[in-house]
Amino acid sequence: MKRLILAAAFALSASGAQAAAPIAKIQAMLAKPDQLCGTFSQTKQLAGMKKPLASSGRFCVVAGKGVLWRTLKPFPNTLRLKRDEIVHLQGERVAMRLDASQEPTVRMINGVLFSLLAGDLGQLDSLFEVDGSATNDSWKVSLKARNAALARAVGAIALDGGAYVRSIHMAEESGDRTDIVFSDIKTGAGAMLPEEAALL
């Protein structure tokens, strides 16, 4: 009898460990710099369109500050995410501003995007079912939204990387797909360009 209970307890803890093991390994693999900048190239395949849409630009992730996403080609526009707001700049013009005081989920959205770009899987766990696998120097993760509304908004997300996130793949329920590949990643004080520092 005693043995049975012990076995059950062991089985439970083992199953818990199994789910967490790759995540912990991936977390250990990821560098967590204060500043991280790089270039991205993005390909979108939208429902009803024949040609894929390609764009590229630069991005920065600064711990404690936020995220800057600058599309440079084919049309320059900038997305800036801070703790309490999301601002979309078209040139100098503010095309859209979402503030936490009017939209309470702004902080949550920003948290998710920051975690995605920084590969902070622990933070994503409350919103997504995280499933992953890891080898010695690379990892793969797939995210499935825990609630229906979020699933509708972002669809299924897959990430892969090593010390940094290398690519993100998003497939929405509507049929729109987005692939983003990161390169030229730099960290540390010199990573951000002066104009980027001015924006963030």
Partner: protein, 792 residues
């Protein structure tokens, strides 16, 4: 025994029969029927009989809120808040038959937008609609391109082709902005002041005003709160609901029935014993009061089919007046010659007693002229109680109290002498100086007097409840249930069009900071007129052959086929939207209460306001003017103005009552009649002057007290003016005993936590004291009295 000796006995027996009936009826009511007094405070407010649609809108708004209990469980961090909320829910879960959890329905939350997709082309945010009219074609091409290439383009609904220009997204964001509450992890989430809250809403099954519901639900809510705080010690629980206020008011009223009733009784018992040194007068006085109370209760129940707890609280003060009749008889018995038997003594006293009752009933029935159902009950209850107590004295006292029953007690001996040294009013300068000083005092006091009819100043809920209510209102940004616009029209379409006309005016008030926003069904379902106008706008500005959509296709290298297909797709999402159909979708659930539907042959709806500032009420009232079918409703202001109107009207009623009483007494007291009324009038004037000096504002309830003071004060005036020849100092003793008891009763009412009763009580306290002190000043010297001979 002669005939005269037998008649009183028969009368006493007959009365005994009536009292037995009363006892039986009361026993049946309390033990058989198990009746419970009402605690609905709203029963004190006047019914709005003027406009049925307006009345319906108010009950609609209030009823939807009345049965709800809203709870916010907050913590520094979302997962803690969730744990505390689960602990809270667990406690209430087994009591679903009493208080049920309003599950938010995961499916409806996720699907609310998809049910609107077929109409998406006509659902355009206000900002986007303005831009559509003003911005050039290039603006829309750029906006679509940015949307197209950006990875995270902000709120996005469906595929790109469903909303290439972000019009529906803008609309959805605008709708989401109407409430700060968001679904999150299967709960409702709201944040503020550094905390994250889980919103739980419950519906109470029994009426929020039923005493039973209050007694069982309030401890349950307390238990749930304790459980949540045990699960997460740092958690904050904010609860709001009408039931909490009702329970607090009920508990306070019950407490006061005890203090006022018991305090009053103890005072009277003590006074009577010190005066008569006998238990018999005490028992008899209590008997008359008891019969009065039972009789009033029985008849009130038969008349109204209900009794309000506040009626009973007010009825507790009845003790102060109902005793007068017994005391008057007893004091005369004490002072009368022992050769005079009690029935004959009563016959001599009967005219005075009769006029006393008449004046008091006139005083109480003045209350029945108010529009407040609760006060009407109180008036009828009190008047009936007095009649029953009076009849008990007249029928039973002569038989039960013989000439040798009573001996003067310590208090009676001490007090009687005071009358001899009391100052009398005359034309001498010594007497006129105090009168002049009093006149100056009164004039100064009256000049300082202000009035206040704000119903909110009558609010007596515990501060904690009010603080919670305010905090919850701020966090949820909930609209006011008592200030809103009522919109009417012959058809649904007309109502929606009128709402839209109103909203155009309100938009400028939002910009001006008077309100944060508004909730209206036309936000969700535009009128057919607006639907058509928006569709034309989209066709004209975006989908034109060489418009922004075509330009977009050129930029990204798509062919005209794609343009045609996308335009057709967008147009296919332009199915006409009908209010009736929308009301059946889950998306309409939080807004259904805004639609009244058909009332009295017209369609009606409500436009509710968020973040309204009280200072902006005049601006808001003005915004509704000149728009046909639109009416500004301010229930608080409405009730306050009714209170004000009745304060003024009751002032005239009081003056009228003085005249009526004067005329009623004139045949008996002739040229002395003014002396009966003068002490009361003087006391009333000085009491109001005192209010002015104390910085208290005059309210309806002060004026109502003056009405009652007339009833009580005239008693004392009559006692003092009645039979100066045979009564000796008995009237003075009766006035003192009555006034002291009345002061005890009403003074305790002045301690009530209910502001209305407190105002009433304090006025009675000061007024009765003043009448007592003033009454002897108006007695005429014995030799000048020309008393009407009383037939014996």
């Amino acid at each position: 025994m002669n005939m005269g000796g037998n008649a009183p006995k028969r009368l006493a027996l007959l009365w005994a029969l009536v009292v037995c009936l009363l006892l039986g009826h009361n026993a049946w009511l309390w033990l058989g029927q198990r009746i419970a007094p009402d605690t609905d405070i709203l029963a004190l407010l006047p019914l709005d009989e003027r406009d049925p649609v307006l009345q319906q809108s108010f009950t609609h708004m209030v009823d939807s809120a009345q049965q709800r209990v809203v709870v916010l469980v907050g913590a520094k961090d979302w997962s803690d808040a969730g744990r505390a909320a689960d602990a809270y829910r667990k406690v209430l879960a087994p009591h679903g038959e009493l208080i049920s959890f309003d599950a938010m329905g995961d499916e409806s939350q996720a699907n609310w937008l998809s049910s609107l997709q077929p109409h998406a082309a006509m659902l355009i945010g206000a900002v986007q609609e303005k831009e559509l009219r003003e911005q050039p074609a290039r603006f829309w091409t750029d906006s679509a391109l940015a949307r197209l290439y950006s990875a995270f383009s902000g709120p996005k609904l469906g595929a790109f082709r469903d909303d290439p220009f972000g019009l529906f997204a803008g609309w959805a964001q605008e709708r989401a902005g109407e409430t700060p509450v968001r679904p999150r992890d299967g709960r409702l989430f709201v944040s503020g002041a550094g905390r994250e809250y889980v919103l739980l809403t419950y519906t109470l099954k029994p009426s929020a005003f039923s005493l039973g519901a209050q007694q069982s639900v309030v401890p349950l809510l307390d238990g749930a709160k304790a459980a949540a705080q045990q699960a997460v010690p740092s958690s904050e629980i904010i609860t709001a609901g009408v039931v909490l206020h009702a329970a607090a008011a009920g508990a306070q009223a019950s407490r006061e029935v005890h203090t006022i009733g018991v305090g009053s009784l103890v005072g009277i018992v003590l006074l009577t014993w010190l005066t008569f040194r006998s238990v018999k007068p005490i028992t008899l006085t209590l008997l008359s009061i008891g019969v009065g109370f039972l009789g009033a209760l029985s008849l009130c129940w038969l008349l109204f089919g209900r009794i309000h707890l506040l009626t009973l609280v007010f009825g507790a003060s009845l003790i102060g007046v109902a005793q007068d009749y017994g005391i008057y008889f007893l004091c005369h018995r004490l002072g009368a010659d022992q050769g005079l038997d009690s029935p004959r003594l009563l016959r001599r006293l009967l005219p005075g007693l009769g006029f006393t009752l008449l004046a008091a009933v006139i005083g109480y029935l003045g209350l029945a002229l108010t529009p407040f159902p609760g006060l009407r009950h109180m008036a009828v209850f009190s008047a009936l109680g007095l009649v029953f107590a009076w009849l008990t004295v007249v029928c039973w006292f002569p038989v039960l109290i013989g000439p040798e029953t009573l001996q003067p007690g310590w208090l009676a001996r001490r007090y009687r002498g005071a009358i001899l040294r009391w100052p009398r009013l005359s034309m001498a300068p010594r007497s006129l100086l105090p009168v002049a000083l009093l006149a100056v005092f009164a004039a100064l006091g009256w000049s300082r007097l202000t009035t206040n009819d704000d119903i909110r100043s009558l609010q007596s809920s515990p501060p904690q409840l009010i603080a919670d209510q305010i905090k919850l209102g701020r966090l949820l940004d909930a609209p006011s249930p008592v200030q809103y616009y009522l919109v009417r029209g012959a058809t649904t379409e007309e109502v929606l069009q009128r709402e839209e006309a109103l909203k155009r005016r309100l938009d400028t008030l939002v910009t001006g900071g008077h309100i944060a926003g508004y909730q209206a069904l036309s936000n969700w379902v535009p009128s057919r007129q607006t639907q058509a106008a928006r569709l034309a706008l989209v066709n004209d500005k975006l989908l034109d052959a060489d418009g922004p959509l075509a330009a977009l296709a050129r930029e990204i290298g798509e062919d005209p086929e794609w343009v045609a297909a996308t335009a057709a797709h967008l147009r296919s999402n332009a199915q006409p939207m009908a209010l009736e159909a929308f009301m059946r979708t889950p998306a309409s659930q939080p807004w259904r209460h805004l639609w009244l539907g058909e009332v009295e042959g017209v369609q009606a709806s409500i436009v509710a306001l968020r973040g309204m500032r009280y200072a902006s009420i005049p601006v808001l009232a003005q915004a509704g003017e000149g728009l046909s079918g639109v009416q500004w409703v301010d229930k608080v202001g409405g009730i306050s103005s009714v209170l004000g109107r009745y304060r003024a009207d009751m002032g005239w009623v009081v003056l009228g009552a003085y005249l009526v009483v004067f005329l009623a007494l004139l045949p008996r007291y002739k040229r002395r009649t003014w002396r009966v009324l003068a002490p009361t009038a003087l006391a009333s004037i000085v009491t109001i002057a005192c209010l002015g000096f104390a910085g208290q504002s005059l309210t309806l309830f002060h004026v109502l007290a003056l009405m009652l003071l007339l009833g009580v004060g005239v008693d004392y005036g009559i006692f003092m003016q009645e039979d100066a020849d045979g009564g000796g100092d008995a009237p003075w003793l009766a006035v003192g005993l009555s006034a002291a008891s009345a002061i005890l009763a009403f003074g305790l009412l002045g301690l009530s936590g209910t502001p209305a009763l407190q105002a009433f009580g304090m006025t009675m306290l000061v007024g009765t004291t003043l009448v007592w002190l003033a009454a002897p000043c108006f007695i005429v010297k014995k030799e000048t009295v020309h008393a009407t001979p009383v037939p014996v």
